[in-house]
């Protein structure tokens, strides 16, 4: 930070608008404002504090409005106090403006809440305002408040800075380590989400990889299945080709041999008919044989029966007996000895002989009934002959016709056989054709099924490929992110190691610097020690032992000068980090020293030393000096003066800054 200008408006005794432009020249880097006591030197110094931190170590510091202005302020009206600092920090022009409105009510003037505006000029010349909530942070980055009392050095109130406050962080910040620290914190770690690494981890799609793996599995499975299907389809196609070819061959054979086929069929039909006829014939034969067996005798007996009938008719055996007369009746008559006609029946008589002859023709001696019965037997024995013969005739004729038919059919079969002789039986081909057609049907069904399945698998592949591609993009992003994270972590590691390295040296370096400066300013045998809180103590060596020595006001002032000068000198040096052979400049910010009455209570030598050293170690020196002290300082510092002002005190309420 270098201070470019300070503008005051109604700030305490600086009535109206007054301003100072500080020298930013590298050689003539000293700005001197001369003024005696009560002229307003301390007020100028506190104007910086107020502008930066809204804090002013002034009596009655809650009322900053110029008394003249306040006295003239009409009831109900207000007036502003304003301090504006223009500065350069990290190569950027900043303007800090703090203002506070004072309003007069009921004869009393009340201050309102002070306001701060910070803006900076961009590289393109545009002015950007810093958001209100960032302002405090920005100011502390430019100049930590803890160290403000060193930079805006009120020599006469030196006690205020030896408050044993821990200055470690502020010193580190000032020396550029805060930048490292901020960078380290900014890069951060996985567990802190708002950090770079945390955000990078957060942006990674951890589920994506799992899903991508799954999608890839699906793709690979589907592809594997497609390959199997492809092989099956090839086999299927070659089978289809074979059977298509075979079907064509069979169609040709059957077409060319259609006649043969027809004849073949006809032959088979006839053969079936022959078989049926033979079966029928067997039935007829059986019946015919049964007829023969049962009726042959009766049929052939016909002429014999006729002869027997004729003979019996001729002899009339059956007519000789008297109807119902029996041998027993006649024997009874013979036994009685007298016929029914009255004739005596005695042995030797004619009448008895007649009766005895008659006995042969009556039952039981009579055969008349037997013969009669036989006669009826004769007529019945051959009675069915005609019918039986007709039946046999019919059966025989049927048998003959069947035989003829069978013969004709057999002839035809023989004829057909002759015609198709030598030609292969078409049945075989017809059967094969049916088989081939069935196989083709099955193969086509299988083919369609495989094609459908392949389509489905292809869709699966496409679908999962899209998913996979999407996820792989994510995965690719993840990969990139992982690389970024590794970079970030590497940078962080590098910064951490640099920080630790620098941190361990910084106190020693500072101490060395401060002692170097102290020795140049102080002409005694003391040395400065800086503790872990970056507090400075003076040590005196007594009998080879360093003990904390008492401090006079003047010595204390020199010590503080040495400290702040050392700090500024160290800040001016670059913090360089090495990464391999490359060096990186992490910080090289210059700082001003603004000092109120630096030489008061200092003797001539000290004043001379201080005047010599300060402009050498600091980039910019702004001093508010009393005329009396200036005598000793001026010869030493004259060549470094870049801007020269003096204060004119018009009244207690009005001082004026005048350029030399």
């Amino acid at each position: 930070m270098l201070l470019k200008s300070l503008r005051l408006h109604n700030f305490r005794q600086y009535k109206g608008d007054q301003s100072i432009s500080f020298s930013c020249d590298k050689e003539k880097n000293v700005t001197v404002i001369l003024g005696d006591n009560t002229f307003g030197k301390t007020t100028l110094l506190q104007a910086f504090n107020w502008c930066f931190y809204e804090s002013a170590q002034l009596p009655n510091s809650e009322f900053l409005l110029n008394f003249d202005v306040a006295a003239e302020l009409p009831e109900g009206r207000s007036s502003d106090v304003e301090v504006e600092i223009q500065l350069i920090h990290s190569g950027l022009d900043y303007i800090l403006t703090r203002s506070q409105e004072y309003i007069k009510k009921n004869g009393t003037i009340h201050p309102l809440q002070a306001k701060i505006r910070v803006s900076y000029k961009c590289a393109d010349g545009q002015t950007e305002n810093i958001k209100e909530n960032k302002i405090e942070n920005v100011i502390n980055t430019i100049l930590p408040q803890d160290l403000s009392s060193y930079f805006f050095f009120d020599t006469e109130r030196v006690g205020a800075i030896s408050n044993r406050k821990d200055l470690a962080e502020s010193v580190k910040g000032l020396l550029g380590l805060s930048i490292l620290d901020n960078a380290i914190k900014h890069i951060g770690m996985k567990s802190i989400k708002r950090t770079v690494v945390g955000q990078l981890y957060g942006s990674m799609d951890m589920d994506g990889d799992q899903r991508a793996t799954e999608a890839l599995d699906h793709i690979q499975d589907a592809q594997a299945r497609r390959e199997v299907i492809s092989t099956q389809l090839e086999t299927n196609q070659s089978e289809l080709n074979y059977y298509d070819g075979r079907k064509e061959q069979l169609d040709t054979i059957l077409r060319e041999n259609q006649t043969t086929s027809t004849l073949q069929n006809k032959k088979e039909t006839i053969e079936r008919q022959v078989f049926q006829e033979i079966t029928a014939q067997a039935g007829i034969t059986k019946a015919l044989l049964a007829d023969f067996s049962s009726s042959y005798m009766h049929f052939f007996s016909q002429p014999l029966l006729k002869r027997a009938g004729d003979f019996l008719h001729e002899v009339k055996v059956d007519d000789k007996g008297i109807k119902d007369l029996t041998k027993a009746t006649l024997e009874d008559i013979v036994k009685r000895g007298k016929c029914i006609c009255g004739c005596e029946l005695v042995e030797g008589s004619e009448a008895l002989a007649h009766i005895r002859a008659e006995m042969q023709y009556v039952p039981p001696e009579s055969i008349g009934n037997v013969v009669r019965h036989y006669k009826s037997g004769i007529s019945s024995f051959g009675s069915s002959s005609d019918r039986v013969f007709q039946s046999i005739q019919t059966r025989y004729q049927e048998l003959y016709r069947a035989k003829t038919r069978i013969q004709e059919w057999n002839d035809e079969v023989e004829d057909i056989s002759d015609r198709i002789k030598g030609k292969e039986t078409m049945k075989k081909f017809e059967d094969e054709l049916v088989d081939v057609k069935n196989r083709l049907k099955d193969l086509n069904i299988k083919k369609e099924r495989l094609i459908r399945e392949d389509e489905a698998k292809k869709n699966d592949v496409d679908r999962y490929q899209k998913i996979y591609d999407g996820l792989v993009a994510v995965s690719g992003k993840n990969k990139s992110t992982m690389i970024y994270i590794r970079y970030a972590e590497a940078v962080s590691d590098w910064l951490v190691s640099t920080y630790k390295e620098k941190e361990s040296y910084i106190r020693g370096d500072l101490e060395e610097k401060v002692n170097g400066i102290f020795e140049r300013m102080y002409h005694g045998h003391r040395r400065v020690a800086i503790d872990s809180k970056y507090q400075v103590t003076l040590l005196t060596t007594i009998s080879d032992k360093e003990i904390e020595s008492g401090e006079s006001e003047g010595l204390n002032r020199v010590k503080n000068f040495a400290f702040i000068a050392g700090l500024v000198a160290l800040a001016k040096e670059r913090i360089v980090s090495c990464a391999g052979e490359q060096e990186f400049d992490l910080s090289s910010e210059p700082y001003p020293l603004v000092m109120d009455a630096p030489f008061s209570n200092a003797d001539e030598t000290h004043t001379s030393n201080i005047s010599k050293v300060l402009p050498e170690v600091a980039e910019q020196v702004i001093m508010f000096v009393m005329q009396k002290d200036w005598r000793y300082a001026e010869p030493v510092i004259a060549g470094k003066i870049g801007a020269h002002y003096h204060l004119e005190k018009h009244s207690e309420q009005f001082s004026e800054l005048k350029g030399a």
């Binding site: 005798m297 027997a308 003979f311």
Partner: protein, 171 residues
């Protein structure tokens, strides 16, 4: 009469078996036996017991029992029509109807049965000759049997049997 087994021997046994088993024109031996009686009469042919072979064909009493009426009928027919014995009409009636009923005439009955069986054997010979000559298949036997019937039928319808039958059959 016709109450016991009857055994046919020799060639007649062979014929009767052949006619039943090979030609199948007759179911049983007894069918051939009864037809033999008819054909013996028709052709006036009597046969005598043949002992030239050991072949035997037995007709069991059971078979006679079932065909007893027919057998008796045929016996009387033979007795009525046989003209080999020169006897009167009354005597012919007597042997046809009385011998088998009168135990006193058992001797006569035995002779009558012998005559009857002689006709049977003669008839079997005729049947064998008429129905198997020149035949090798069953169809041949059937044709032979049928033709014999057909010729015989025409004969008895168109011509007086006594005058033409024998010659027609033989022709």
């Amino acid at each position: 009469m016709f109450e016991n087994d009857y055994t046919i021997v020799g060639k007649h046994a062979t014929y009767i078996k052949f006619l039943v088993n090979d030609t199948k024109l007759f179911d049983r031996y007894i069918d051939v036996y009864m037809n033999g009686a008819i054909f013996g009469l028709l052709f006036n042919r009597v046969g005598s017991r043949d002992n030239t072979s050991q072949d035997r064909a037995r007709i069991y009493a059971d078979a006679f029992a079932t065909c007893r009426d027919d057998c008796v009928f045929l016996y009387r027919l033979v007795m009525l029509l046989d003209e080999t014995a020169k006897i009167s009409s009354d005597e012919r009636i007597d042997r046809s109807f009385r011998c088998d009923a009168d135990e006193k005439q058992n001797d006569k009955l035995a002779k009558n049965l012998e005559l009857f069986n002689a006709y049977v054997l003669g008839g079997i010979e005729v049947l064998y000759e008429k129905l198997t000559d020149g035949c090798t298949t069953q169809e041949d036997y059937i044709t032979k049997a049928y033709n014999l019937m057909e010729t015989f039928s025409e004969e008895i319808k168109g011509f007086p049997y006594e005058e033409n039958l024998a010659s027609l059959i033989n022709g």
